[in-house]
Symmetry: C2
Subunit: 366 residues, 2 copies
DNA sequence: TTGAAAGCGCTAACAT
DNA sequence: ATGTTAGCGCTTTCAA
């Protein structure tokens, strides 16, 4: 193995530049308070020696790591079917990179991993955490709170006092004000979708819900119910089936729905993948989409929606932006954020929760 | 912000247990050479104080980080469409976790990021690197070599002397023996796929190749050609189109092929996503699959292949296992690997390159 | 503005 | 088997 030979230290650079370690340190960390000719000599030496600071030594004294953990707690299935996480990661990565922070990925596979992750976070190896895919019974939030690590959640956490999402225009809901999260306007997006179906003249609108132990699924269901009761005075429970955000689940749910209500004329699926499954079953049942049954999805995973047959009308959320914002929020919470980025007078602090808007993307299915 | 108060140090534990720091250190790191009653007292103290070792301090002296970088160099498109990376990451994560190593994710977006990543790796922040998705002109390998970090590649790197993959049964090809990588038997898998089509009686077998700046695409093309020349004495170049591993690319390629050779009776696509696009165009053109045109994909991304219409016959590779093996190989290269895992006498070293077998999964499309 | 010196928390020789 | 001690490479008072 090519073993890295011992890297040059501050000491070495100092010697070469003929200054003290302290001076080199100053130059390396922004160079305030070092006169130009000297600073230049130091930079020279750094360059020539190929000096790179030893992060461990630095962390030891600063107690900062410039690293953030990303915790993904999705047990199996969905992570693979769904480009969702790849997208979020991309957004997060961009933002972290821009601020010279590293991304430590923590994937949770099973029960034992919760403890492992909690220990890691509590161990002070990272400056903060970005946590995804919380399920209602998830032990993680509490463990994290105990760990005392600054944290931002992806998606509204479910343990808050209320089960209601924010209104269409965004703004934090009535949660524990300390909890920071980024989410899209699930409820509002769902309303838009269902309203669209209603505007198309559909009245027997079914909903294939996501896994209801996740707030996104709950909020979308609520949005669906909002419009249905608004329009019809009630929401027929037979038109709702809980599923799991996967194509296979979508198929099963669609069969169930057709069984119960063969005369349904529209379906709002909790996400695009579910819609895909529904589409297949509808086709197999001899129904035409959208003529007989109109279908709307959620997410707008472009490769999925555009390749669907027919191309899927759906509610778009900007997933990458959500990731970026999560990272942004977290970085803001970290000590030293302000100084490090040359933030001017108007240092605008993000609110405790950010709800991104959604938009309806019309394609052929509805 | 809930700010973590200063954690207990070794010193504190030592004081509480009434022993020296060295003794505590020994117990914490495996506890060899500490008599039981004492060791127990130390464990008590650790427990009571909730002591967690400071990784920075430890790294500073051991020069190890118990962290591995995963570098994904896919510019855009594919990462999102394809659950491929999620799967590999899962495999890697499992193996690293099992050996108490952390996963630092480095996503490469553009040209500037190469330098950033190289600097990071050279900076000695991680013990090793797992690198994916190399393209032929990629500057990364060289930068990494210079960085002197132990590295394992995902997929055969393209800069070696030969352009040929290993034989069907696996084994390293004639590369620089120092380069370590894990790949599936792309060429053999392609052969199996095309042979299957030929066995079905097809003779006008087309191939939609992947991006030919990646060895996986080249190897699959080679496998295709192997069989075609074997069966027909030649491989008609008009039956091959280069594409990009995406559904959209698959569509375009399929149209092109139908244009050139309307009488083709089979298609071997470089991956499942490409096959998906091809399927759509074939259907749109009024051709039945598999009656008129048989289609075979590559990868076996189950959510894709099973949901395809008709379900896709494909070549399966065990992606998660590839990830696991990559991590395994890297860990092996790291100093101290042997001692840390209680490896017995027969410490079997993985070969420099591992080629995993593929299997044909028959579904409805061929 | 620059330098000297004191640690940060830990491991690993070396003593005992 | 256990304790003592000397750093690992860096930042950060404090003096000059």
């Amino acid at each position: 193995m090519t073993e890295a030979v011992s890297r040059p230290t501050l000491e070495a650079v100092a010697a070469r530049a003929g200054v003290s370690r302290a001076t080199v340190s100053r130059v390396v960390n922004g160079g305030d308070g070092v006169r130009e000719p000297l600073a230049e000599r130091v930079r020279q030496a750094v360059e020539e020696l190929g000096y790179v600071p030893n992060q461990a030594a630095r962390s030891l004294v600063t107690r900062r790591h410039d690293a953030v953990a990303v915790v993904i707690a999705e047990p199996e299935a969905r992570v693979f079917a769904d480009p969702f996480f790849a997208r979020q990661l991309r957004g997060i990565s961009k933002e972290l990179t821009a601020h010279d922070n590293q991304l430590v990925l923590l994937l949770i596979e099973g029960r034992a991993d919760h403890a492992r992750v909690a220990r890691y976070l509590a161990g002070g190896h990272v400056d903060g955490a970005l946590v995804f895919s919380l399920h209602l019974d998830d032990p993680l939030p509490e463990l994290i709170r105990d760990a005392g690590v600054p944290t931002v959640f992806g998606g509204r956490p479910g343990w808050g006092p209320d089960g209601a999402a924010a209104g269409p225009a965004g703004g934090a809901s009535g949660e524990d004000p300390g909890v920071r999260y980024v989410d899209c306007d699930n409820r509002g997006g769902a309303r838009t979708a269902v309203r669209h179906l209603v505007d198309l003249g559909r009245r027997r609108v079914a909903h294939i819900a996501g896994a209801l132990d996740q707030t996104s699924a709950v909020d979308r269901l609520d949005g669906y119910r909002d419009v249905m009761t608004d329009v019809l005075g009630e929401s027929d429970p037979r038109l709702v089936v809980e599923s799991d955000f996967t194509p296979g689940g979508g198929e099963r749910a669609m069969r169930e729905l057709l069984d119960r209500c063969p005369d349904l004329d529209a379906v709002f699926a909790a996400n695009d993948l579910t819609a895909l499954g529904a589409l297949r079953v509808l086709r197999a049942s001899g129904r035409r989409v959208p003529e007989d049954v109109a279908v709307v999805g959620f997410d707008d995973m472009v490769p999925v929606t555009e390749q669907a047959d027919p191309p899927l009308t759906t509610v778009r959320q900007d997933i990458e932006e959500m990731g970026r914002l999560m990272a942004c929020m977290l970085l803001e919470d970290l000590p030293g954020a302000r100084e490090r980025d040359g933030a001017p007078a108007a240092w605008s602090t993000l609110p405790s929760a950010v709800i991104l808007p959604t938009t309806l993307v019309r394609r052929a299915s509805a």
